[in-house]
């Protein structure tokens, strides 16, 4: 089974993330274990403005975080972007992104189901 490049281009990632209204934010707690919560998101210039959506505070400024954005009209159409950076004043300037767009996989892809 050949592997397919399902990553979005930097332009696709930027447009995708700017359009999203919310995601899941993860960071490490004081013990070095991951924790996560729901956030609202708004594109702001080259960055992203985040706010807690679940009544819990955002982690302190200077915390390295990862925010996952996802759209899933179907399994074969899942699009997701993981944005990594350091939080400051509720703002995240992306330092690195990981992305995938399953629609870039040529059909049929039965082996990749699930």
């Amino acid at each position: 089974m050949p592997r397919h490049d399902v990553a979005m281009t930097p332009e696709e990632v930027a447009a995708f993330v700017q359009d999203e209204e919310g995601g899941v934010l993860a960071h490490l707690d004081e013990h070095g274990d991951p924790t996560a919560g729901l956030v609202t998101s708004r594109g702001l210039g080259t960055g992203i403005l985040l706010a807690a959506a679940d009544g819990r505070p955002l982690p302190p400024d200077g915390t390295p975080v990862c925010v996952a954005y996802e759209r899933e009209p179907s399994y074969s159409g899942v699009r997701a972007a993981l944005v990594l950076g350091v939080l400051g004043g509720g703002r995240l300037e992306p330092e690195r992104t990981i992305s995938f767009d399953f629609a870039k996989i040529p059909a049929p892809t039965r082996e990749d189901d699930h």
């Binding site: 999203e20 209204e21 919310g22 995601g23 899941v24 934010l25 993860a26 960071h27 490490l28 070095g32 274990d33 991951p34 924790t35 996560a36 919560g37 729901l38 998101s41 959506a53 679940d54 009544g55 819990r56 390295p64 975080v65 990862c66 925010v67 996952a68 954005y69 996802e70 759209r71 899933e72 009209p73 179907s74 399994y75 074969s76 899942v78 997701a80 993981l82 990594l84 990981i98 082996e111 189901d113 699930h114």
Partner: protein, 142 residues
């Protein structure tokens, strides 16, 4: 666990698993999750980044939301615990209640279904529901 959190876990299969990377940071990936008998079950390729992270550092955080297409939003549930890598022949127990939402193209796991194994390349991870937090929109709580 509150009845509301339990109901969200019963109905929702849209999950996000946060893991610790080899470099010592946090990363969060979308994943389908299934609530069965006091635990969340997740299936993924052993070679995937999230699987390798969970094997190296089993402490995880899983956010489960009930909504389908669109941005993940409250209400949801945060489960924190240790992910257990299950043997190759492990299957989740049958569902007590079928989930209300399944990603189109994904079927709920049935014991013995080989699609979830792919000759051992995919495996199940199980996270017991030891630490459960309801995630609600604060405006909805007012």
């Amino acid at each position: 666990m509150t009845d509301r959190a339990y109901a969200i876990l019963e109905a929702g299969t849209r999950g996000f698993v946060a893991t610790r990377t080899a470099a010592g940071g946090a990363v969060v990936h979308p994943i389908s999750v299934f609530h069965r008998e006091g635990a969340l079950w997740m299936n993924t390729y052993l070679k995937s980044a999230k699987a390798r992270n969970m094997i190296r550092h089993p402490a995880v955080a899983v956010v489960v939301v009930g909504s389908g297409d669109g941005a993940p939003r409250p209400p949801g549930v945060l489960v924190r615990g240790r992910a257990e890598l299950l043997p190759e022949d492990a299957d989740p127990p049958p569902a007590r209640v079928e989930p209300a939402y399944l990603l189109p193209g994904v079927t709920a796991p049935v014991p013995g279904d080989p699609i979830w194994s792919l000759d051992g390349r995919r495996r199940w991870f199980r996270v017991p529901l030891a630490d459960v937090t309801l995630l609600e929109d604060p405006d909805a709580q007012a």
